[in-house]
């Protein structure tokens, strides 16, 4: 389960960031922001990559002592970032993938909402709900 989930616009500004309330929110913002370095690098390298390396899921972006940061980029260059606690070793790659799929599906719904203006912060309740389901539940 994630400790922080973020959606980042094409132009790299945040559209949505949600983190567990128990920890320093700012720190997660920085973690997500710095992870964009790796995302950008991976996106820019796509031309050279083989077809199998061109999936939307970017995998583990970089590990820190405390967190694992995973990335995903849609074809519209919107980025999803999921931060997971390093101690959470039970989480498999497949589960991370399916979390991203869920996020992407929900994001697509947001994009198709006539009341949403692409590029604006996401305020959708439905999207919020999906994200809540993936976050570490405060115990």
């Amino acid at each position: 389960m994630a400790v922080c989930i973020a959606v980042i616009a094409k132009e790299n500004y945040p559209l949505y960031i949600r983190s567990v309330p128990t920890q320093n929110e700012l720190k997660f913002h920085y973690t997500v922001h710095t992870s964009l370095d790796v995302v950008e690098e991976k996106i820019s390298a796509v031309g050279k990559a083989m077809a199998d390396q061109r999936e939307l899921y970017l995998g583990l972006l970089y590990p820190t002592e405390d967190y694992k940061v995973y990335g995903y980029v849609t074809n519209s260059k919107v980025k999803f970032v999921i931060v997971v606690d390093s101690s959470n070793t039970s989480l498999r790659d497949n589960e991370i993938r399916s979390m991203f799929r869920k996020l992407h599906n929900s994001f697509t719904d947001v994009m198709c909402n006539p009341f949403y203006n692409p590029g604006d912060p996401i305020q959708s309740k439905a999207f919020d709900g999906i994200v809540s389901g993936m976050m570490v539940q405060p115990s």
Binding site: P14, T34, E41, G119
Partner: protein, 1165 residues
């Protein structure tokens, strides 16, 4: 010890090299010895064997060797590794001691010297009692040695010396100090290296041999120690593969030790050492992934081994050091050629090291209370000044059991450590690590990581109270977060920056940061914004702001006094803040109402201002600067005590300005160069918020873009409420001043297309609708500039209708003065244009005048102008085609000398209206006209579109002197239209030929049935020879004839013969004349065929003499059909046409002009 406690010992970090001691060298006073020593030391590159040399005196005391333990049964080790051990084997206990001794083989005092040498060897041996260190002797000799085996004395004495010194032959060397010193030295040191290898090999064997005596319960520490030692000796032996193997074993053994609070530090210290060695060797072996894996394992194993909670900072300090050392190892490997990647570079390790250092600082702050003094005696002092074993506590060295021996001492020790920790310059350490990390991330394309670390550095400087440096860093990265629109992060950085500015009492920065924290990009809560705004208002009133929360009270007090000092300081209270690149709390956008204004209209511009802060803001002045500063005075608004200069939160205010442009600015652009809003007052502090251009800030472009996209959704709603949508307000930062709209009408009338070369008339009418007199009206007329270049050479314009234009007339007539034009007055002019080439042309009619008018009560003198253009096509009026035919109307491809032929011209009108042809004439060059014609047949002919006018000329060409066989014909001149335009058509050249024999017939133009038809043939000899001619007339059905049927005759050069025949037609209509066969036996090139072309082939035979006949010929030329009715005797011909009917006196030639296509005959009654 405090700060450097965690530094790895240098003997651990260096690369171990075999230690060889050199004795018997006097490097100070003996030049030869000095040179030898230098040769050992100089140029120790990678190709030299890895040995560390040291010069020691001959009687040097080497460390004593402890007596060998015979049994480990009762031995309980006190620690893992002695602090002196590594150094001992690197620098104190040599693998080999070399004794240098000056002795030549033929030394006269050989005996004495031999025994002296033996004594010296003995001294060294005694000092090394119990060690396996080898001894070698090097004889320094003056003479070059003979090749081995030749010097019998030498080998004998060498054996004797070895014997005396108890040396093996392999340990005795000779060093002649001659030319090749370095070569000898290299050979020597290679030999030394072999000895050293053997030494370390035996050392390894020795340590290994201990193993069998050890047991697992009491000697666990020794297992680690021994493995470490074996590994270290392997390194000295340069056997890094095995060294790595033993270190790895040592590493797993160290973690097998039973860990408890008292030995935790020792275990971690040793684990750290061994880990360092392993990682270092892995990098050295170019297996960085192994190094990283080992390090991760190490961290995972040690992370939780915190040890005493009271000394938690020790653990974090140690962790920090682990990361830092690994980062350094990694970095060093990169310098040696390893490639790192974005996600795996030394930066991460430095960053993590910094992170642990930050934790350490926090823990230290929590655990180390101030005010407690160091207990006496200092429990950290040891009798030797250092520790016996790595990682032990000074107050209980060698203690290995679980519980501390003395709880009191333990407490005092911990307290002492805490007190020491207090003095550690944590921030300095953190900043150094962060700065290392920044350098790395910069290298590996991680700009955001770099910014993040710089923020941390800034914050650390803030904690270290170095606010200037803090602000410098924070200010530097702020814009990155602003441009990427990470408002949450920007707000956090601004908050820290504001604190720094407050604590330094830096007014300008304080205002700048406040301004942005109040702005729409700030994510602060309302109450915080409210607090900041109140403070800002205080600062504007030159009062001391409240302290920022989270500043410690002592700093706040200091800051308050600084602010008080600032307040007292008079002057320097004006601040201008460039807000364009921020997201300030007052937004400003300006626009000219229109992208252009006529000079007789007032220029209007609007400035929109809006505040995003929680409370209303007052401002005192709003001023717009324009590119022409003279207008600035009209674009200022200042408060004069009323309410109107106050901005309510969220509401947009609009200020309108208008001014009259200067007439000399017509055609120029007026730009807004800046907008200033003045906050505060002259009595307190003045802050000018200054926008470049027409406003907008770091965030407004994106907001405007989003607004455009979402306009569809909001659209209707806001329209109704007439409320301005701030985001969709667009900036119009410049406007053009354009000339006054002319109130005149210009009309052009003409009848296109224009004909090539004609004087084409364009009627120009100008009428004034002005209310005043239009003065100084000027017309510029002609070809519009900027068209194809050659058009200007083929176009002529004039006002003069009386003469045809020529090259002297321009393509554009500039500034024709037309005088003044009263209101309502009309003026006309005719402009004539002559176009020498065909095609499209654009003609310009530009009318300029000046007029006086008033704008907003101001009298101005305006220049107005109006342009009218017209596109005119020029076409050719007619096409002329020319052909040469024989007198029989057969097309000629060449013309015979002195024989008449016909030139026929067709003039086909392509003009859309009738063309009046004035006259036409031929200008011949070499040829002569056969007909004395002066009168053009085309005179006064009017041609309709598509009609054709033809002429025919009978010409003859005299012999030409020059050799070329072509001859120029001349020109056909046609004059048309009025005023007269003459068009000259150059006629084609003809090819000339000479004929040897010319024959032509003389016969009536027609015959009558059964009436005699006399035909006379003239045969001319045109050669210089007598020609024999054979002539024969072939019989014909249509004629009977009388005359010589067959004849042979001779014609003299240049003379002529005539043959007369009387033909008697038998049938009416066109009849083929009897064929004449002529041959010239002397001139075979000329045959009947070539001659026959000069003769008529047919003749028209009429039925009877008396009847009146009408024939109608159809003349077909091009597509036009003209009917000719011709009376039988050719005395008169009447030309009838639908359009024109006129008398046409026919001549023989003009009748021949008719092309007999078909005819019919009818009898009239």
């Amino acid at each position: 010890m405090a700060g450097s406690q965690w530094e790895l010992p240098p003997e651990l970090c260096c690369r171990p090299m075999a230690f060889v001691a050199l004795t018997g060298l006097d490097v100070v006073y003996n030049a030869v010895h000095r040179a030898i020593w230098d040769a050992f030391c100089a140029n120790r590159r990678a190709d030299r064997v890895p040995i560390s040399f040291k010069v020691l005196p001959g009687d040097h005391e080497y460390p004593k060797c402890r007596t060998k333990r015979t049994s480990y049964e009762w031995y309980i080790p006190k620690g893992i590794l002695k602090t002196g051990w590594m150094n001992k084997h690197l620098n104190l206990v040599p693998a080999l001691v070399v004794l240098f001794y000056e002795l030549d083989w033929d030394d006269p005092q050989w005996k004495e010297k031999q025994s002296e040498c033996a004594t010296k060897v003995e001294i060294v041996r005694t000092s090394l009692q119990g060690r396996n260190t080898k001894v070698a002797v090097v004889l320094i000799q003056k003479k070059t040695p003979l090749p081995p085996g030749e010097d019998l004395v030498a080998s004998e004495r060498a054996a004797a010396l070895c014997n005396a010194c108890d040396l093996s032959g392999k340990s005795l060397f000779v060093l002649p100090h001659t030319d090749h010193l370095v070569g000898y030295i290299i050979r020597l040191e290679n030999a030394f290296y072999e000895h050293a290898q053997t030494y370390y090999y035996t050392e390894i064997r020795r340590v290994k041999s201990h193993k069998e005596f050890l047991n697992k319960t009491t000697h666990q520490l020794l297992f680690v120690r021994h493995q470490f030692k074996i590994a270290f000796f392997s390194e000295l032996k340069q056997d890094t593969q095995n060294a790595l193997k033993y270190y790895r074993t040592a590493y797993s053994l160290v973690h097998e030790l039973r860990a408890h609070e008292t030995n935790m530090l020792e275990i971690k210290t040793m684990a750290g050492f061994i880990n360092y060695k392993i990682c270092r060797l892995c990098f050295q072996h170019n297996t960085p992934l192994d190094a990283i894996a080992q390090f991760r394992k190490h961290i995972d194993l040690c992370k939780k081994k915190i040890g005493s909670a009271e000394l938690a900072f020790e653990h974090t300090a140690w962790m920090s050091k682990q990361f830092q050392s690994f980062g350094e190892l990694f970095d060093e490997a990169i310098k040696l050629g390893l490639t790192a990647i974005q996600t795996q570079n030394p930066g991460f390790y430095y960053q993590q090291a910094a992170c642990y250092s930050q934790d350490r600082k926090l823990q230290a702050q929590q655990l180390c209370q101030s005010g407690v003094s160091l207990p006496t005696p200092d429990p950290l002092e040891t009798p030797t000044g250092g520790l016996d074993f790595y990682g032990q506590r000074p107050w209980r060295q060698g203690h290995q059991s679980i519980d501390p021996p003395d709880p009191e001492k333990e407490k005092a020790g911990i307290l002492a450590l805490q007190i020491k920790e207090r003095d550690v310059p944590h921030s300095e350490l953190i900043i150094a690590l962060l700065s290392n990390a920044v350098a790395q991330f910069k290298k590996y394309k991680c700009p955001r990581m770099k910014s993040h670390l710089m923020v941390q550095m800034g914050e650390e400087y803030y904690h270290a109270k170095d606010y200037t440096k803090a602000l410098k860093l924070l200010d530097y990265v702020m814009c990155d977060y602003r441009t990427e629109r990470w408002w949450g992060l920007l707000t956090a950085i601004l908050t820290t920056a504001l604190r720094c500015a407050y604590l330094m009492a830096n007014v300008k920065d304080y205002i700048t940061y406040s301004m942005e924290l109040l702005g729409r990009a700030s994510t602060l809560r309302e109450e915080q914004k409210s607090r900041i705004e109140k403070n800002l208002i205080k600062v504007l009133m030159n009062e001391v702001p409240d302290a920022e929360p989270e500043c410690d009270p002592s700093s706040s007090t200091a800051a308050a006094s600084l602010w008080n000092d600032r307040m007292a300081l008079a002057g320097s209270n004006d601040f201008t803040i460039e807000v364009q690149d921020y997201v300030p709390f007052i937004q400003c956008k300006a626009r000219f109402q229109s992208p252009s204004f006529h000079v007789d209209q007032p220029i209007q511009l609007q400035v929109f201002v809006r505040a995003d802060c929680p409370h209303p803001v007052r401002f005192n002045k709003l001023a717009v600067s324009l590119s022409n500063q003279e207008y600035n005075q009209w674009c200022v608004v200042e408060s004069s005590g009323q309410e109107n200069m106050c901005l309510s939160p969220g509401a947009t205010r609009c200020y309108n300005f208008s001014f009259v442009a200067k007439t000399e600015d017509v055609g120029k652009k007026i730009e807004m160069t800046g907008i200033e809003v003045m906050l505060g007052s002259e009595t307190g502090r003045c802050v000018f918020l200054s926008w470049r251009g027409a406003g907008g800030d770091a965030a407004s472009t994106h907001e405007a873009l989003q607004a455009i996209r979402s306009l569809r959704h909001r659209g209707r709603g806001t329209e109704g409420r007439q409320e301005l949508d701030w985001d969709s307000l667009t900036i119009q930062h410049s406007t053009m001043i354009i000339s006054r709209v002319p109130k005149i009408s210009v009309q052009l009338s003409h009848q296109p297309p224009a004909l090539n070369n004609e004087m084409y008339c364009i009627n120009f009418t100008v009428q004034s609708q002005e209310e005043a007199v239009a003065r100084d009206v000027k017309l510029t007329a002609g070809l519009k500039p900027g068209q194809e270049a050659n058009l200007s050479h083929t176009t002529y314009v004039t006002l003069n209708s009386s003469k045809v234009c020529d090259d002297s007339d321009p393509a554009l007539l500039p500034d024709i003065p037309l005088g003044d034009l009263n209101p309502g007055e009309k003026m006309e002019r005719c402009v004539y244009v002559k176009c020498v080439s065909t095609g499209q042309r654009v003609f310009l009619f530009h009318v300029a005048y000046t007029i006086d008018t008033t704008v907003e009560g101001q009298q101005i003198n305006c220049k107005c102008h109006k342009d009218e253009t017209v596109n005119i096509e020029t076409v050719v009026p007619f096409e002329v085609s020319v052909k040469f035919v024989s007198t029989k109307f057969e097309p000629l491809d060449r013309v015979a000398v002195d024989i008449p032929f016909l030139l026929m011209t067709d003039l086909l009108s392509s003009s859309p209206w009738p063309i009046l042809l004035a006259t036409s004439s031929l200008q011949l060059v070499t040829m002569t006209s056969k007909t004395a014609q002066l009168h053009s047949q085309l005179e006064q002919v009017v041609l309709q579109t598509g009609e054709c006018a033809s002429e025919c000329f009978c010409l003859q060409c005299p012999p030409v002197a020059n050799s070329s066989n072509t001859v120029a014909t001349g020109q056909y001149l046609i004059s048309w239209r009025s005023p007269l335009v003459q068009t000259a058509v150059t006629l084609p050249h003809v090819i000339l030929e000479t004929v040897p024999l010319y024959i032509h017939a003389e016969l009536p133009s027609f015959g009558r049935v059964r009436e005699s038809l006399p035909v006379r043939y003239h045969i001319e000899n045109r050669t210089a020879l007598v020609q024999e001619v054979e002539m024969a007339v072939e019989p014909s059905d249509a004629f009977m004839f009388s005359g010589l049927k067959q004849v042979r005759l001779r014609i003299l050069p240049g003379s002529e013969q005539q043959m007369l025949y009387n033909y008697y037609p038998l049938m009416a209509g066109y009849q083929t004349l009897p064929q004449l066969n002529i041959s010239l036996p002397r001139c075979p090139t000329t045959n009947t065929h070539t001659l026959r072309r000069f003769l008529p082939q047919r003749i028209f035979v009429k039925v009877t003499h008396k009847h009146f006949e009408v024939c109608i010929y159809t003349l077909t030329s091009g597509s036009t059909v003209t009917w000719y009715r011709i009376s039988d005797d050719f005395s008169t011909a009447v030309l009838t046409d639908l359009k024109l009917v006129r008398q046409h006196p026919p001549t023989l030639t003009s009748i021949h002009n008719v092309w007999h296509k078909k005819f019919f005959l009818s009898r009239m009654t």
